[in-house]
Structures are given as structure tokens and as C-alpha cells.
């Protein structure tokens, strides 16, 4: 574990508008850092991993505090909305069960009262719990700079451990998540050594959409955490499952394929072999749970 040190001097700004924030980011050096909940940023500053000369606290920017849902526009989670607000937001509880599950296991109550979903994915840990769920839901990250705004498909968002597709001078504004289609179900299950306050050894999210006429799967998405340099989709396993009627044998085969697609490392949390086996087990469990929610299996 990296030791704790005192934090070097830095300039602190807390702009009250998006324009002002983007102006600051445009003219600031590349070592400026954006502060939302701070549960990762302040820790990294204490550990001396980053030494920003400027910290821009964006919690007062109205656009970044947005938490809204409607059928057509989907869910919009502003970059500074703390995780605990998501756990009680009715639309998330009713329609985005997989996201509620993923966000409820991040850190402790104290961390969730400060930390944000945007921070969870901007930190870009391969084990980020919200990432597999967001990948399954087809989420996008809205980023803005003084040149305008753009949306980054989450499939293209994670570049490397700790590295995202957000460019210099760009600010994460919100995460947008389309409304899940009818006849869909999904879940996120992770394995940790301890029950609470731990980082996933492996995390798996599955999300299935059913064709109600013939009971085949119109779409299948499977996303894996902590088994590659970034959170990843198991595209081969997804393609194999799409269009099929689910049977226990098919689930086994899909789990096997997803395990083969994982590219885990060995570290203190688990060996590569163990992680691969966990992918198999957790893909099977998430698929069974999603199928049972869809009424496909007992």
C-alpha cells in the first residue's frame, strides 16, 4: 500500500457555471484535476500519485447535478450526483435494477455519500463496479469542452487502467443510459473475498432482451470487470447466445465462452486461473438470474 503524505499546495476553484468551468479547463495546464466526490482524487493526492497545481471543484455546476429520467430520453446522471442518490431514485429502482445493484456495492455508506458514478468510471479501474452494468445498458458519457459537447459510447470510453477517452480540456458532464427495452432483465454479481468494503476479484453483468413471440433472445449483453486492462464486453459469448432459446446447456456453453474471452492477470486478489473460473461461475449465475426474471427458467 502506498503511504500517505501531506498534499502539495494547489489552487482551488469552485466555478458556479458550466461555461466558467470549461473556460478554466481550456486555459489550465494538463495537471489540473476535476473534483467531484473526491473519494478517489483526494486519496490519490494523499498518496502522491497525482500532484495537480489546480483543483476544479465542479459540485456547484447546475448541469452536473442533473438526475432525471423519462421514457424517451432515458436516464441522465450528472457527474457530481453521489451514488447514494441513485439508490433511492425511483426510476432507477423500477427500471435499472442492474445499475442499482452495481452502485450499491461500491465502497461504504460514507464513500457512497460522496463518490459518484461518473468518478467510478473516470477513475477507470478494471474492477469499477458500475462499468459492466453501464456497458450492458448501452450507456454513453457526455463530455464537454469550450468547443462543444460530444457523447462517448461507453464501449469506446475505457482505454487502459486509469485512462479514458476524455480529452484534454474536456469535462465529464453526465452519463446517459437509454431506457431498457420491454421484456428485458439483467443483473450484476461480483465476487469479493470479504462481504463488504472490498474490490471485486471479478464482476459480471448480464443483460437479456426477449422476443416474447418465440421466447428466443433478441439481444444478449455480457460485460466483465477485473479480468482485462479495462472493463470489457464478452462479444463472442453474446453473439453465441443471441437468437437462441435458453437451455441449461446453452448457459453452460456461454459461460465457457465468456471465460475463454477473459484476459485476467494474477495479483494478490486472485490468480488468472481463479479469475477465469470465476467468470464462468458468475456468467452462469447472472444468466440464470436474468432468465428466471424473464420467466425462461425456474
Amino acid at each position: 500500500m502506498t503511504s500517505i503524505r501531506s498534499i502539495d499546495r494547489f489552487e482551488y476553484r469552485a466555478p458556479g457555471s458550466l461555461d466558467e468551468t470549461l473556460d478554466i479547463l481550456k486555459t489550465s495546464g494538463t495537471d489540473a484535476k476535476v473534483l467531484a466526490g473526491g473519494t478517489d482524487l483526494i486519496l490519490q493526492m494523499k498518496q502522491g500519485l497525482i500532484r495537480p497545481s489546480l483543483v476544479v471543484d465542479v459540485k456547484k455546476v447546475p448541469e452536473l447535478n442533473r438526475l432525471e429520467w423519462d421514457e424517451v430520453g432515458g436516464l441522465h446522471v450528472g457527474a457530481v450526483v453521489p451514488l447514494n442518490k441513485l439508490a433511492t431514485f425511483p426510476a432507477i429502482l423500477e427500471r435499472y435494477n442492474i445499475l442499482a445493484q452495481a452502485c450499491s456495492v461500491i465502497g461504504s455508506a460514507q464513500v457512497r455519500n460522496r463518490g459518484t458514478m461518473a468518478g467510478n468510471i473516470c477513475n477507470a479501474a478494471p474492477s469499477a463496479d458500475s462499468a459492466p452494468a453501464l456497458l450492458c445498458l448501452g450507456a454513453g458519457a457526455v463530455v464537454a469542452s469550450s468547443n462543444g459537447a460530444r457523447s462517448i459510447d461507453l464501449n469506446d470510453f475505457f482505454v487502459a487502467p486509469g485512462e479514458t477517452a476524455i480529452g484534454d480540456g474536456e469535462l465529464m458532464v453526465e452519463i446517459e443510459v437509454p431506457t431498457p427495452p420491454p421484456h428485458s432483465a439483467g443483473c450484476y454479481i461480483r465476487h469479493t473475498t470479504r462481504e463488504e468494503m472490498d474490490i471485486a476479484v471479478v464482476g459480471v453483468a448480464s443483460f437479456l432482451t426477449l422476443s416474447p413471440q418465440d421466447k428466443t433472445l433478441k439481444e444478449a449483453r455480457i460485460a466483465l470487470g477485473a479480468v482485462a486492462p479495462t472493463p470489457v464486453r464478452a462479444h463472442g459469448a453474446e453473439a453465441f447466445l443471441t437468437g437462441k432459446s435458453v437451455t441449461p446447456d446453452i448457459i453452460e456453453e456461454v459461460a465457457e465462452k465468456a471465460a475463454a474471452e477473459a484476459n485476467p492477470i494474477s495479483d494478490l486478489r486472485g490468480s488468472a486461473e481463479y479469475r477465469r473460473e470465476l467468470v464462468r461461475v458468475l456468467v452462469r449465475r447472472t444468466l440464470r438470474e436474468s432468465c428466471s426474471e424473464l420467466g425462461l427458467i425456474e
Binding site: I4, S6, I7, D8, R9, F10, E11, Y12, A14, L35, G38, T39, I42, L43, M45, K46, Q47, V55, D57, K59, N84, G107, S108, A109, Q110, V111, N113, R114, E195, E196, M197
Partner: protein, 149 residues
């Protein structure tokens, strides 16, 4: 900057890099709030920020300008202990006492939002507070008994 702690207004000068924990202990001399790990893992430094439990070691003091902080020193009213504090004494839920202020404040915020929790809910709620002495049973019992008082 202006900061309100336990109902009292303070005006202080702070460097941006100083944490809320640091200010509480070394500027305001409210040493009931403890530093354990300094990394947001142990919960010893838990205080209430506008009623919500946060790790004060992972909050810059400058972020809480104009907000209300409650520390363990602010829980008793007119010399009378808060029911949670009394319950911790009655149940013997304190050994070395280092984690206790943090646990009690986490429990207070939790009970404010969920006045009649199950034992499992209590255990999940205090997952971010480490205790090296008690094995948690007496802590859980104390929180449970405070819900009945």
C-alpha cells in the same frame, strides 16, 4: 471561510489541501473525531455533513464552506447523552474507543433514514467502520437497542 460545526459558526483561514478532519482536530480542537487510516477505509473520521455520514479524511475543508458539520461532540444535548451514546455505554459496545465516534455518527445518520432496521441492515450500514476490539456484536446490539429507546 465560514463553517458551522455542532451549531456553532466559525470563521477560519485554510490552505486548500487541508482536510476537514485536519481542521476539526487542529484548528477547532474537536479531537473526538479520529484519524485511523487516512484513506477512507476505516471510518474512524466519520462526521455528518448536512446530516450524511462522510469520511472527513477524504473531504477538503474548503469544500464544506457554508455546510453544517456534526461531530461526536455535538450529539449530546444540554449535558444529556444522545440515546445512541447511552446505548453504547449500556451495552458495553466500547473497548479502546477509537472507532466509537465514527460508528456512532454512521449509526445516527443511518437510523435517521431508517428508524427500524433489521440486524442485517445495521451490519451493512456500519460496514465502512472498522473496530479492532469488539467483534461488532455489542455495537450492533447497542444500535439495535437505540432504535427501541
Amino acid at each position: 471561510m465560514k463553517i458551522k460545526v455542532n451549531g456553532q459558526d466559525y470563521e477560519i483561514t485554510v490552505e486548500p489541501g487541508r482536510t476537514l478532519l485536519d481542521i476539526l482536530r487542529y484548528e477547532l480542537r474537536l479531537t473526538g473525531t479520529k484519524e485511523g487510516c487516512g484513506t477512507g477505509s476505516c471510518g474512524s473520521c466519520t462526521v455528518l455533513l448536512d446530516g450524511e455520514a462522510v469520511n472527513s479524511c477524504l473531504v477538503f475543508a474548503i469544500e464544506v464552506e457554508g455546510k453544517e458539520i456534526t461531530t461526536i461532540e455535538g450529539l449530546s444535548q444540554q449535558g444529556k447523552l444522545h440515546p445512541l451514546q447511552q446505548a453504547f455505554i449500556d451495552e458495553g459496545a466500547v473497548q479502546c474507543g477509537f472507532c466509537t465516534p465514527g460508528v456512532i455518527l454512521t449509526a445516527k445518520a443511518f437510523l435517521d433514514s431508517n428508524p427500524h432496521p433489521t440486524e442485517l441492515e445495521i451490519r451493512q450500514a456500519i460496514a465502512g467502520n472498522l473496530c479492532r476490539c469488539t467483534g461488532y456484536d455489542k455495537i450492533v446490539r447497542a444500535i439495535m437497542s437505540a432504535t427501541n429507546s
